[in-house]
């Protein structure tokens, strides 16, 4: 028996066996992800099992991280590499600056949705994950005998790592829509501190502080850190992957490799296009083998292709569901050359926008592009020997390729003009690259001039002069959100009742509050059921939201055509408020005059 066990152990320890295993698992993953499972099966599989698969991955990652943390001597931190010691003053400075940035951001930005309607969809998925362990977004939901049940849902296109984490917060704190914001507020200092650690590896406290300040004062970062979107998690996981990848390349070893691979797997599930970083991850793994002069393969590395199967299946469902692409009528494909020129123009327009209307940072754009340019020129002219570069530089190189590919992909996407408030968040990864290009630039230039101090001073001035007014006004986070928040506040101020909201926007906002809601289109279709509700009320009140727009230079607002209800719907206005040129109106459905009902309207 002992012989058999030692034989298996010896066999498993052999590189060829491990390589064969990873090859087989890879082929299996390819088959399952792209060939073997049809869309019709993929969708229910993800809906039912996605949560559990994600839970398994996250637990594995946390366990691996703990192992790495517990015994750092076996992984990462090359003992030969010179490391600057942490002083109490440095630790204090890092915490104080992080805390100051947090207080400043939370003081000026409101904890509310920033990008329509992404964040509500994520929250809705988290709702179902929390209540039903199901990866699904609500379409309709009703209070049935005291329990608010999702009666109709679908698998959304958005990756579900962020909703999974939100559902965990719900698990711990109880369900509240604010939990998604709390999660992002908690992720914000974590992200800034990981940025500090990475900056520090290159240029001591100066590098750390530059990274922390440049990222923390970027209005786009602050905007997303106070929303309920998945961007900050994406940035954090990207930084984590680089940090752990650097540790792995410093001293290629199983533990750091496992954490690195799991970080990349989770990163791939943070945002749609983050799957690209799997390529960067593979590059880092291979570079590690090359540097170590041997193959390093942990159990996680062997099974990792299987962990990516849900990503492939999810993408398959998305590719086969054009309705989820949200394209305009005149657009036929999601990606295309025709989008590139305008998107490219948008990139530079956004990065160098001098006003307060966009969440950019001109200082970071300028310094970052300068830094990237200098790095590029240095790389071309000096052609550095990859063996002589430190592990972190190599990891950054691999992920810079990923971020570059990400940017190129985005340029081909139909809805990614950075100047559009909905799309500006796509610029976060390039901005991240710029931050560390500036750190590198400062490291080089500090030899001659006190550049780090100048950059830190300029960052403070830029933050006070432009960052603060941007956050204070947050012009870029208002479109549609102000109106939704007003509706929510107004309805909240009404006496508690069983209420149905017929909305002109998205029903998700109300469903998250456990208030039944349907879209106006559906309300028109369900006219007979609504008429029934008015006579045999399950709902004490049916509210209708509509918007009015000006018909001329003089105003004279009218309800827009697509939001008009048939004339048999009798409405009573209860509140109106102007938002820009629009007037939002909330009415009460008083009656549906049955005489006007068309025949057979009860059929669905």
């Amino acid at each position: 028996m002992n012989n058999l066990r030692s034989g298996v152990e010896n066999g498993w320890a052999r590189v060829e066996v491990r390589l064969a295993a990873v090859g087989l698992v890879g082929l299996l993953a390819l088959y399952l992800g792209f060939i073997g499972i049809e869309v019709a099966l993929a969708e229910p599989l993800i809906k039912k099992w996605g949560y559990h698969f994600m839970a398994l991955t996250v637990v594995w990652w946390v366990w691996s991280l703990w192992q790495l943390w517990r015994r750092p001597e076996h992984a990462g931190a090359n003992p030969d590499a010179p490391q600057e010691k942490w002083s109490r003053r440095e630790v204090l400075s890092m915490f104080v600056v992080t805390a100051a940035l947090m207080v400043s951001l939370l003081g000026m930005e409101t904890l509310r949705s920033k990008v329509l309607y992404d964040e509500y969809v994520l929250q809705s998925t988290a709702y179902n994950m929390h209540h039903f362990r199901e990866v699904a977004t609500m379409v309709r939901g009703y209070d049935l005998l005291g329990s608010f049940v999702s009666t109709d849902n679908y698998l959304d296109k958005r990756p579900y790592f962020f909703p999974f984490l939100v559902s965990l917060v719900h698990d711990v704190l109880g369900y509240r829509p604010i939990n998604a914001y709390i999660l992002n507020v908690l992720l914000m200092p974590l992200t800034l501190m990981v940025a500090y650690l990475l900056g520090r590896r290159w240029h001591g406290w100066r590098g750390g502080m530059i990274a922390l300040c440049l990222l923390g004062t970027l209005p786009l970062f602050g905007q997303n850190a106070t929303g309920s979107g998945m961007e900050i998690l994406n940035v954090l996981m990207l930084l984590m992957a680089v940090l752990v990848g650097g540790l792995y390349l410093e001293k290629p070893e199983n533990r750091s490799l496992s954490v690195f691979i799991l970080s990349v797997v989770l990163l791939a599930q943070c945002r749609y296009e983050s799957a690209i970083y799997v390529v960067s991850g593979v590059m880092v793994v291979l570079l590690g083998w090359w540097r170590a002069g041997r193959v390093v393969l942990s159990g996680v590395a062997i099974f990792s292709p299987l962990l990516l199967v849900p990503v492939a299946l999810h993408n398959k469902v998305l590719s086969e569901s054009p309705i989820l692409w949200e394209m305009k009528e005149d657009q036929t494909s999601r990606f295309g050359w025709e989008y590139v020129p305008d998107n490219l123009l948008g990139v530079f327009e956004f990065w160098f926008h001098p006003g307060l209307m966009m969440a950019n940072s001109v200082l970071l754009s300028f310094l970052g592009i300068l830094g990237l340019g200098v790095v590029l020129i240095w790389a071309v002219r000096r052609r550095p020997n990859l063996r002589r570069l430190d592990g972190h530089a190599l990891t950054w190189l691999a992920f810079a390729v990923g971020i570059g590919a990400n940017l190129v992909l985005v340029l081909f996407y139909f809805w990614s003009r950075f100047t559009d408030p909905m799309a500006s968040r796509f610029s976060l990864p390039p901005y991240l690259l710029m931050v560390f290009a500036v750190v590198l630039l400062a490291r080089w230039m500090d030899r001659r001039w006190p550049v780090s101090k100048i950059i830190l001073g300029a960052t403070l001035v830029a933050y006070l002069g432009w960052g603060v007014p941007k956050h204070a006004h947050h012009f870029y986070s208002r479109m549609g959100v102000d109106e939704i928040e007003w509706e929510r506040r107004f309805v909240k101020s009404l006496p508690p009742q069983n209420r149905l909201v017929l909305t002109n926007k998205t029903s998700l906002v109300w469903l998250l509050e456990k208030t039944p809601s349907i879209l106006l289109d559906r309300a028109i279709m369900m006219e007979d059921r609504l008429a029934y509700q008015l006579t045999q009320p399950m709902f004490d009140e049916i509210l209708v939201s509509q918007s009015m727009r000006p018909t001329s230079v003089d105003g004279f607002h009218e309800v827009v055509l697509e939001e008009r209800l048939p004339e048999q719907f009798e409405l009573e206005t209860v509140a109106e408020r102007r938002f820009g040129t629009r007037i939002a109106r909330i009415s009460r459905l008083v009656a549906i005059n049955s005489k006007s009902l068309p025949e057979g309207s009860g059929d669905e």
């Binding site: 007014p469 003089d554 938002f579």
Partner: protein, 621 residues
């Protein structure tokens, strides 16, 4: 001659001379008054940022090496620390936080608001929510110096915009003042004096009133004490770091209140004394460039040339000169009325007044005696003499001011520096009495009696705040705003600034009277959830009838429905009414025919939206 030649070889001395010439050219000659106001409007924020950054850096250089020792010294100061905290709490708990002096504090809050949102130094006169965010659409540079609004704006920057941040700053500064007063008195005399100084300040209801307001008075006192402490350090050390700290603190004091620039002159004397003692100019680079730092003051001061009304001489009737010896007798009478009021209506401290009026002449005598022995004088005495000259000059200026009535509710606060001088003078003179500790206990007991018998009841009643009904009316407006959190309404009020600083759209009554058609356009298009009008009626003493002064009359075009009203004095009724109708009339209709979406193309709908957008921004009140 040799000394002069040596001095001229000192690059910093040459820089001082050149920067002095440059400052005079830029501050007074090269830039026209109108352009100077523009420079301050758009550059004032940045100038303050640079000054404060230089001050922080200079002070860090000066005391950075001592900071690590501070916690150790605090252990031996537990008693005074407890006293300071107790006195601070007593100063801020009795008077409710709010705007105490109108329009001063609202103007400062307005400047801080524009500094935070736009990084420019104007008092916003128009502001509206156009596309969700409240935007400042116009305003003008205020005459008040910019340091306090700048500090409030920094507080906004790091904690978010709240009009109440001015109160938070003042509460914090009051603690700083007590600490500095303690340190100053300890340096002058000793620990007993420090504790007595803190106790005396705590007995001053005027300080309590300002500690819970949004003005710049407490900052002024803090900066004066800062100059004194810096002066003591310089007098003792006479090195580049200490002179830099002294100079930069004095510059900050100069941009705190208009008349505080007076302290620049005695401080210059102190620096000169140090040079004479050292036998050569003692200068750091900051002090060498200090004349340039006074350019913001010089440029901002041009506001009094451009706008003669800034002196507000019309407020009191027929005055034609802001300063004159003729005002002296009357002002002295008002000062005595303030200091020795026993009714509690004057926010004075009887104990400070009674002891101070005795101590100040003695201090003047000590100063005169000091002149005779300048060569042997102790450094701390020179610093004390410097600050005393500043205090005396300030008092003299106030007594020559046309509105220097210390017993006027709006002017009382101008007596704060004199009160602080009296506090320090009392402990300095007390030190001359025989005995080591007993005299301080005796003085402490006296302060305690004054505090509990007069000051504390006075603070508890705070009649001096309540009698000033304008402040009460402002608090009432704030209650209205708190009760209407949506802030989607417009208020027509002569004091529109008070609404605007709370991010509520507001326009003066004059505008509503002059342009009813604009109001009609806004009314018809539901630009605002509601339109309210603030009015102050006068009540006839005999008949009880209400009459509306012209400045509060919106005219017959508006039909009003009262929603809130309150009497703040027996003869005034303040009322907020809702506009329920605006009579038909010209309403700025441009299109000849009415359109409707059913007959419009998407392009026409978009064009209508854009045209309307442009039009409505133009027609906002």
């Amino acid at each position: 001659m040799t000394d002069l030649a040596n001095s001229l070889r000192d690059r910093r001395f040459i820089t001082l001379i050149l920067s002095g010439v440059g400052a005079i050219l830029v501050g007074f000659i090269l830039i026209s008054p109108a352009r100077a106001l523009n420079v301050i409007t758009y550059g004032g924020y940045w100038m303050m940022l640079v000054l404060v950054a230089i001050a922080a850096w200079t002070w860090w250089k000066e005391v950075g090496s001592e900071v690590a020792q501070w916690p150790r010294s605090w252990r031996s100061e537990r008693g005074p620390i407890a006293l300071i905290i107790l006195c601070w709490v007593l100063l801020i708990v009795h008077d409710p936080f709010g705007f105490k002096i109108l329009m001063d504090e609202a103007m400062l809050a307005g400047t801080a608001m524009s500094m935070h949102f736009e990084k420019i130094a104007i008092v916003p006169m128009r502001g509206h929510d156009i596309q969700g965010a409240f935007e400042l659409l116009g305003g003008q540079l205020d005459k008040r110096p910019l340091l306090q609004p700048f500090l409030v704006s920094v507080l906004h920057d790091f904690t978010g915009y709240r009009p109440e941040n001015g109160f938070v700053l003042n509460a914090g500064l009051t603690l700083a003042l007590l600490i500095l007063a303690y340190r100053g008195a300890v340096r002058l005399v000793g620990r007993g004096a420090g504790c007595c100084a803190v106790g005396l300040l705590a007995s001053l209801p005027l300080l309590a009133q300002n500690a819970t307001g949004g003005g710049f008075e407490v900052l002024n006192l803090v900066m004066i004490m800062g100059v004194f402490i810096a002066g003591v350090r310089y007098a003792e050390k006479r090195d580049a770091k200490s002179v830099d700290a002294l100079v930069v603190t004095t510059v900050l004091l100069a941009v705190t209140r208009y008349e505080s620039v007076l302290f620049v002159f005695p401080v210059a004397g102190l620096i000169l004394w140090g040079w004479l003692r050292a036998g050569h100019p003692v200068l750091g680079w900051v002090s060498a460039l200090s004349p340039l730092m006074l350019i913001p003051y010089a440029l901002h001061n041009q506001v009094f040339k451009v706008r003669e009304s800034s002196w507000e001489m019309a407020s009191l009737g027929d005055f034609d000169k802001p300063f004159s010896v003729d005002y002296l007798p009357d002002n002295v009478a008002h000062a005595l009325a303030f200091f020795f009021d026993t009714t509690g209506e004057q926010s004075n401290s009887l104990v400070i007044a009674a002891l101070g009026v005795i101590a100040v002449p003695f201090v003047v005598l000590l100063l005169v005696k000091l002149i005779g022995r300048l060569g042997k004088v102790r450094p701390v005495e020179v610093a004390w003499a410097t600050i005393s000259v500043g205090f005396l000059a300030h008092t003299l200026l106030m007594m020559l001011y046309f509105w220097g009535h210390f017993d006027d509710p709006v002017i009382r606060r101008l007596s704060l520096p004199l009160n602080l001088f009296m506090v320090l003078a009392i402990v300095v003179v007390a030190a001359e009495f025989p005995g080591k500790r007993r005299k301080w206990w005796a003085l402490g007991a006296l302060i305690g009696v004054g505090f509990f018998s007069y000051s504390l009841p006075s603070m508890a009643r705070h009649d001096y705040s309540l009698d000033y009904y304008v402040s009460q009316e402002t608090a009432w407006r704030r209650e209205f705003i708190a009760a209407h959190p949506e802030k989607d309404y417009l208020v027509v009020d002569p004091n529109s600034i008070e609404w605007i600083i709370h991010q509520v759209s507001s326009t003066p009554i004059k505008r509503a009277v002059d342009d009813p058609d604009i109001m009609r356009f806004n009314w018809r298009n539901k630009m605002f959830g509601e339109i309210y009008v603030f009015q102050r009626y006068q009540i006839d003493a005999s008949s009880g009838e209400l009459s509306l002064p012209e400045e509060f009359d919106v005219g017959s075009a508006y039909t009003l429905e009262p929603v809130w009203e309150r009497r703040f004095t027996p003869f005034n009724l303040s009322r907020i009414s809702r506009v329920v109708n605006i009579a038909e009339g010209e309403s700025r209709i441009q299109a000849e025919e009415r359109s409707t979406f059913s007959t419009m193309t998407p392009e026409e709908i978009q064009a209508a939206r854009e045209a309307y957008m442009e039009n409505f921004i133009k027609l906002l009140p």
